[in-house]
């Protein structure tokens, strides 16, 4: 009986250790997923959003981007555009928020390919954006590049992918 309790305590101790380790030193994939979830939340905004709230959210979004970020969009309805640098992204995001009255963005699928050095990752995401003007969500596949900069994972590159060429 005493041995049983000892075994139980040992198992509980190991489980607590594993949990503590994964909390203090999370796997890069887990951190990247958390960052992407934050980015999706920051890209979403309610209808009739106050300008100050929009500014704050865009500022928070830009903090999750690398300074030399490059975004390449080539999609039906959007045309072909390339945006470079955080300032340009900030401008575009504010313009988008003022032009569209609300959006709900989510990434239903995420696939992460971590580089061997664990300082960069190639990420494929399916983006589903619900806009008030569209009856169905706008769906687009994107290829992202995440880089570890200053101890945190930031979005360094984003480009649209055509599943049908």
């Amino acid at each position: 009986m005493r041995a049983g309790w000892r075994l139980l305590a040992l198992v509980a101790g190991v489980a607590a250790g594993v949990w503590l380790w994964s909390t203090l030193f999370p796997h890069p994939e887990k951190v990247i997923r958390a960052r992407l979830s934050e980015i999706a939340d920051l890209m979403s905004f309610p209808a009739n959003e106050p300008p100050l709230a929009a500014m704050t959210e865009v500022q928070q979004l830009c903090a999750r981007l690398s300074p030399d970020i490059e975004v390449r969009v080539d999609a039906p309805g959007f045309g072909r555009h390339t945006l470079q640098g955080r300032d340009r992204i900030r401008e575009a995001a504010l313009q988008f928020r003022s032009a569209v009255n609300g959006a709900h963005v989510r990434f239903p699928d995420i696939r992460i390919n971590l580089h061997p050095d664990r300082r960069a990752a190639e990420v494929f995401v399916t983006v589903a954006a619900r806009l008030p003007s569209e009856p169905d969500p706008v769906v687009q596949e994107m290829r992202l590049e995440m880089r570890k900069l200053g101890g945190d994972w930031r979005l360094a590159r984003a480009e649209t992918v055509r599943p049908l060429r």
Partner: protein, 186 residues
């Protein structure tokens, strides 16, 4: 309705018995005669449903108009994931195509071009290897013009049935074999 010594009268007793009978019936309806066996059956049913609807027949809801009129917006269908285990997709099959990241959102299209073939649209008509192809499922007028494209060994040309849409707004083109999740049941 109690007698003087506190025992329930006949009418009361009948009500109590009736209530007990009802709760017993309810219990039996929920748990069955043998609760352990009922739980086992429920677990087996749940496991079968999980395997069936996750690995064999994927339930999907159609969103959008690109497969109109064959598949209407918001209708429900099943994708047979085992359809191409023993063979390859054939011309005319309606298939679901996955994105690189996962399978939560799929693209519903019809296979019109097979590996090695040359596919083109001229004045809204589909041409395979230079020959016009009859497409009885296309019921809308079409004016698409697209240059001939030769498919690679593991490539398929897929397109929706609603050709009334402008070609630029209609997702169509070449997909790789690995992206085809299964055949849509009809």
């Amino acid at each position: 309705m109690e007698s003087r010594n506190g025992t329930p009268t006949l009418a009361m007793r009948q009500v109590t018995q009736h209530g007990e009978g009802r709760s017993r019936l309810l219990k039996r309806l929920i748990w069955g005669r043998n609760p352990r066996r009922t739980l086992l059956r429920a677990a087996l049913l749940a496991a079968t449903a999980f395997v069936l609807f996750r690995f064999l027949l994927l339930p999907v809801q159609v969103r959008g108009q690109s497969m109109w009129p064959t598949y209407r917006d918001r209708s429900w269908n099943f994708v047979n994931r085992l359809a191409y285990w023993g063979g390859a997709p054939r011309r005319g099959d309606v298939v679901c195509i996955r994105f690189t990241a996962g399978e939560h959102i799929l693209i519903l299209k019809r296979v019109v071009g097979l590996p090695g073939e040359a596919v083109a649209f001229r004045a809204g008509r589909l041409f395979i290897n230079g020959q016009p192809i009859e497409e009885p499922y296309v019921r809308t007028p079409c004016d698409w013009d697209e240059p001939e494209r030769r498919l690679g060994p593991d490539e398929y040309y897929v397109v929706g049935d609603n050709r009334a849409m402008p070609a630029a707004d209609h997702w169509h083109g070449i997909t790789d074999r690995w992206r085809i999740v299964g055949k849509v049941l009809r």
